[in-house]
Subunit: 261 residues, 5 copies
């Protein structure tokens, strides 16, 4: 479970509605079926027009990733890769075959399969890199679906506001209908701006950052697997992999950027 | 037929007009010839100024692509390419000549023709890549026509709104003409914002994504054809081509990004 | 004469003013000397501050290019280059010297002069590429002048609007002056938004696209001239040059992106 | 202590509140708990949704860097590196081992350790560069947290303003509540725009510039350490390192760009 | 003296104030100490927060460059470089030593010093290129200070406007104070939008273009000096340097882009 996503949504909606209540406003006054139909209908429609079906569906499925925490423990992964390197150096790469079944991460298993099968290192590298790129591009297209929704929502909100104001203008003589029109107008703006800035755009950003971290993780696996095939010394491999997680994260004698002299 | 394009437009217009009707608004109140002339006339004019005739025409022709589904079945394509690789390895590349006539895809046919003609691999690669780039750039220019239209429409809508308000100001003494001016003002905004966000910008995005997929498909064909010329083992070719469609799409023992450990 | 530029401006202004007239508005009500002085004076001034004199002047001179059609017939150019390649292959590159005088395109003539002079191919390539880049960059700077004008105009329009409203505020007690202030305010917005979206930004886009096409044409010439120097087979050269104009443009057995399988 | 950060905040808030006071406004009229809850709650929530926990925390920790001055004296660093080069050239790289303990900068110490350990130059370079990139990317993600907060705050401010106006509309009959609603509306805008433009966005920019300078410093160290391993002449090394700090900064016989002929 | 900068500012302010006067407005009505304190105080403060002290100071110093014309006569420079090439070819590079003292341009003098000192060409190239990059990056950071000021000013102007309107709301019962508040509100917008669009952003653009031209000039010098070291024929060098200034600028038999066939 991704704590910041859930806590962030709770804080944003809680404090906004809380502030509203504090001032004596009713939550009911910002619940407007008409405004919701216009803003969310228009946004969903525009986003469907913008993306091919496959990418739209992927965007919907990726929503789950925004709320879950991927188990990407780089320290444990590094330890496992160094262990495989020791096995390969001691007993040959074929000895890794017995270990394949115990690997939960499908990318690592496929990558090691290339080594066990004795595929040429250049082919392994280009194949793994092509797969990393393709998987990232396709998932990133799903994240862009949310970014586009975040771009459309505020303007569709304004469209709803103007539609509401036109309705108000038509009923200037009938003050009883005036309030309704203005309410739709303002609430449509609130829905468009709020959905974009508290949900759609932040979710798009979180998805992109998690997909980027996943891509970095796979690049680390690729480097490690190619080093294992080369028969690199496990200790040197450990040093190289540590650089991929940065020096500042490591228990170094000193530390953060601001202390550097 | 591209389901998401048609469904998206239906959902967006249906729910926006439905919401409007629910509140008691008449559809007639947002049908305004004057506003339409100003917004669409201005947008079409600005877009014509912005693009050379060839690119403007291409943009208009590309509209069809936004509503149709290209038949790009990558699995079938991969199977066909692997089959050609088997033929070439068994009977030589000249044996592919007999198969050329049955190929429906003009790019694949042209690419294989290079192999059959025994053109040097470097020339084949540079020629095919230049053609892919040129075709993509020219089509992308057509997609940019829609993006520019989506950029001009809302501001021309505001221009129409201000023109309407000027008209209102001139007739402050004649309340009967007041409504008309305000209606043009607001409806022009609705037309500009709506056309940009529900039609022009989403269509531009969909065109760019489909053109990108087509370019990726041609790159896959280029890689495959060059591998066939090299006499690559069909099984290895199959593995390489699968990487171009990503590991996550393949029936792998595991799966999506969020399950990776 | 660039038809789309002239037709686009005519359509945009025609339909906007036509719509305005249809509603009973007078063209005179949007002719405001004060607003014009503020918006166009401010925009010209800001653009002059933004660009060095040489680039500002080049931007002014480039305006002509937005209204004229460059005679870049790529098919005729390709034919001529293939013809030169035949001559060079048959009679040697020196035989091209006699043809130099008949070449109207100064870039092609200079490029062939390098070949006739027997300059080293690497020097020819790097010199021609440097010249293409420099010429493009300098012309593109001129196109950016229009883009900047299109960025400044709407905000200067708002500045004019606010100045007009300040004037209105000062004369709240004298209703006869009220109309004038509001008119300047609104008309300044119309001028700023209209000039930017119907003239400045579209003209900048058209200039950039034409300059890009001219750069592509010169790149084609460079490739061809270097191939002629190499003594490449004219038929192979023809194939290579055709790739630079794209496969889809060629009379291929099939066609557009959406038909690919 | 970073003088410009602290002075800048003081000047901005001082002059804005001073101007406000000069006109007779009370500071109290822009202190609004409700507006603060909505704007800051919404912004914090949206930013938490947008970033993984690790990056959000890093963003918070980086705030300290915006207010402190890193001690990056490039002249002293260059002198130290040239000194190490002299030692290495005279007594061999192992002689540097004794100096490692006195080095305060952890990156320099780690880099020299590679040299002392006799690691292959290519491995040293790729490892150090990977570490520089990873450390920069991770810190830059923290700076982006502030940039995103600066992007969300103004729109959440508008959301707060519209919520306030809805409240006003509901209480049109009760003029005593009218003022409160309008105040929340306007103050929410002030909070959103002010926090974004005086704090969040400027802090993001400052963090990015300091992180960029730190990355440049580490790149300088990497180049120097590799030159030391190569046994480069200390005087030539000094010249090369000076180029990394630019010619204009150096006491050259002439000077700034505008004097060049 | 940079004519376009000074003339541009004069035209912009002259015509805007002239238009204002024409309509009967007083210049005095847009002179508002309070608005100036808020807008310029807030903008200066925000910009100081955004940039490290060194870069902020450099930005201030660069202001001079926006108003002065660098004496970069590329034709004279080319002639001088070709002359040096002749000297070096005839009498050897050491003969250039006597000429060093007469060179006014510090970059050219330093670059030739490398040649005279017999430094290896690769070291000369990498050192000069590093210095060009560093000097450009550091000056460009100063130009970005103005760009950021141009980004902050309009929003701080809106902040000032909202503060003024809050003040108006508080004094609705006292009409005599009403005008003052609205004036601050509107004038703050004028200051923010005007300063950004007539001064800050155009100055940032001009600085960037001049710094870019200076970088191109230094790149030209670098290429020339390395060619001199190589002993390139002065006539060939002249041809190469001419390409760096573009073919279109040269007295070619034909001309501008739009005439090409």
């Amino acid at each position: 479970m991704d704590v910041t996503t859930i806590l962030g949504i709770a804080i944003a909606f809680g404090l906004i509605l809380g502030g509203q209540a504090l001032e004596g406003g009713h939550v009911g006054s910002i619940l407007q079926l008409t405004a919701a139909l216009i803003v969310f209908g228009g946004t969903i429609g525009a986003t469907m027009v913008a993306y091919p079906r496959k990418e739209f569906v992927r965007g919907m499925k990726l929503l789950r990733l925004a709320f879950t925490e991927p188990r990407s423990d780089l320290a444990a992964l590094t330890a496992k890769l160094v262990d495989f390197a020791s096995v390969a150096r001691r007993d040959g790469v074929l000895a890794l075959e017995a270990r394949l079944a115990e690997i939960g991460d499908p990318f690592l298993r496929r990558a090691l399969q290339f080594v066990v099968d004795g595929v040429d290192a250049n082919v392994t590298r280009s194949t793994l890199e092509a797969a990393i790129d393709t998987d990232y591009e396709e998932n990133a297209a799903g994240a862009k679906v949310w970014e586009s929704a975040g771009g459309f929502a505020p303007t569709i909100g304004i469209l709803g506001a103007v539609l509401g104001l036109i309705h108000v203008m038509e009923n200037l003589n009938d003050p009883s209908k005036l309030g309704g029109g203005i309410a739709v107008a303002f609430v449509a703006t609130v829905y468009g701006v709020g959905a974009a800035n508290i949900l759609f755009l932040p979710i798009a950003t979180k998805l992109k950052r998690k997909l980027g971290a996943e891509r970095d993780r796979k690049t680390l696996v690729t480097e490690a697997v190619l080093s294992i095939q080369e028969g690199l010394n496990p200790r040197v491999l450990e040093e190289r992999l540590r650089a991929f997680t940065g020096f500042e994260a490591a228990p170094a004698p000193g530390g953060a950027a601001q202390k550097a002299a």
